[in-house]
Amino acid sequence: MTVATLEPTERSRRADQDAADAVAAADAGPLLKAAGISHFYGARAGCENVSLELRSGEVLGIVGESGSGKTTLLNCLAARLRPASGQLAYRLTTGRTVDVYGLSEAERRRLTRTDWGFVHQNPRDGLRMAVSAGANVGERLMAVGARHYGDIRDQVTDWLTRVEMDLERMDDLPSTFSGGMQQRVQIARNLVSQPRLVFMDEPTGGLDVSVQARLLDLLRGLTNDLGLAAVIVTHDLAVARLLSHRLMVMRQGRVVEHGLTDQVLDDPQDAYSQLLVSSVLQT
């Protein structure tokens, strides 16, 4: 009798909680929302009419062969490239949603340097090779006004530890580092400002498999721990499976398939996705 009365109460309480969460999530809406993004190089389409939504904490993988428009799309989403047409909305920490392409240059710089991160395939594109690893990581803090050396140093140390860098190398130039170490520094440099959204272009490209594995472990841990939303471009389906919740398959600038990662990789519907999945070497 007692149990019978308690159970529905408990159940209804949970249901209420779920409903409240759902309402909160719906209120918050997507973190990033792109609509009809197209960009052309002459007559050739880099990406054509791509729309997507990304919620906070969600990792979206974009896969496809070379030249399929992955990087063009990523650059458009990261506001590094102004597409020929399309809209991009982003929800700020204040809850206000802004039109990213409509922001002034100063606002856009501030956004991309604090709330966003961008990890390049080649660390040379994302690091200052002539200044030390520590200064590279601290740059974002100084760019937004940090003026206390000791505090900056502490945060840099913290982040280099989190990306498993040897702290003895903190004041060395990145040009003296291996590719895997450079990539770690680049990741720390992006995460030091505690962004909510990170764009990655082939973050493990060009690294040997054991280094790749450790880096992927690190990335997965960081996205989980920090609740980071991420858009990851890769041609490596294993990387996509490991990191992303959802997957978009691109071909010739168009999205040919879009769904949960496991669903797309285990049961591809589009002919091109099937080809892509079946092309992976089975070992």
């Binding site: 100063a106 200044v131 030390s132 601290g138 740059e139 003026r147 903190m170």
Partner: protein, 313 residues
């Protein structure tokens, strides 16, 4: 030494109308009037926007880039017949560069020159600010090799101009961070970046950071000319000039345990002069006019009596 050199070298000096004068058929102060007017317009704009680098059509001058072509063009376009010119190079009035530039203006403009800081109306300088405080109405003209303080961090001019436009200067601290990480303190000792009027990040030209505090709230007008880079910028009188630093590593100037060997000054910028090939050296004021003035007033340093008056041995 003579405080004021002979003002009338050559027959034409001091004669003629507005454009004429000088020597050997040159226009007054070498540059043609149109060029001077163009440079004055750039200077006016520079004064109106303190610290902002104004592009200008830098002219060919009869000496190579890097020898002060920017400073000379600025001086040439502001100098008048009544002006008294002082030229210093690393603080000294008697080095080749300073002597040549002074003679250049004596020949082409027939103006008076001086070595006394207080007597000059225009002081053209390379790498120093005189020790003696400048006065209202004086103009300090700097020769600038690289006017862009961000160049060390960003090679693209398009990008640095954008950074200035957006006052996006955080990365300048990266350079200071590097110094502290490497040496434990801010090692940058010359061309130490400043923020002018709370807005533009500006290169003070390669003056020692010892001189940076003198730029703040200076009663004199400060003009900067970079001939090769084709830029003019300015700091109007009584403008706020701050040297960048960190809260826990505040800006500091150089200090010496020695005093000037000649005049005994303990508050000036000292040069270390090597005396022989066994490593003997002496410390002397880099501002020769200031040092001579102090000695004339009876001040003596440890080697003050040994040295002849005037030149450093």
């Amino acid at each position: 030494m003579n405080a004021i050199e002979n003002t009338n070298h050559g027959g034409n000096g001091g004669h003629g109308g507005n454009g004429a004068g000088g020597h050997g058929g040159y226009n007054f102060a070498y540059l043609d009037e149109q060029s001077k007017r163009m440079i004055r317009r750039a200077i006016l704009k520079a004064v109106a926007i303190p610290g902002y680098q104004v592009p200008f059509g830098s002219r060919e001058m009869p000496l190579p880039y890097g020898w002060g072509t920017g400073g000379i063009q600025v001086t040439a376009s502001i100098i008048g017949r009544d002006d008294v010119l002082k030229v210093i190079d690393q603080g000294a009035d008697d080095t080749t560069n300073a002597v040549s530039i002074r003679k250049f203006f004596v020949r082409t403009a027939g103006i008076a020159t001086t070595e006394e800081t207080g007597q000059a109306t225009i002081i053209q300088t390379r790498h120093r600010i005189p020790e003696q405080s400048l006065l209202p109405g004086q103009i300090l003209v700097y020769q600038v090799p690289i006017p862009e303080p961000l160049r060390w961090l960003e090679a693209r001019e398009t990008e640095t101009r954008k950074m200035h436009g957006l006052a996006d200067y955080g990365i300048m601290h990266v350079k200071l961070y590097e110094d502290i990480a490497k040496y434990g303190h801010i090692e940058t000792s010359y061309d130490y970046p400043v923020r002018v009027n709370g807005r533009y990040l500006t290169a003070p030209s390669p003056i020692p950071k010892f001189d940076n505090p003198k730029m703040n709230d200076m009663p004199a007008l400060q003009l900067f000319g970079a001939g090769r880079e084709k830029r003019i910028y300015a700091i109007p009188p009584h403008t706020r000039v701050e040297s960048l630093d960190f809260d826990d590593h505040p800006f500091e100037v150089q200090t010496w345990s020695e005093v000037c060997a000649l005049c005994g000054a303990d508050d000036t910028y000292l040069d270390e002069v090597i005396m022989d090939d066994r490593g003997t050296s002496m410390f002397v004021c880099s501002d020769t006019a200031h040092c001579a003035e102090r000695r004339a007033a009876g001040h003596r340093g440890p080697d003050g009596d040994a040295a002849p008056t005037g030149l450093v041995p």
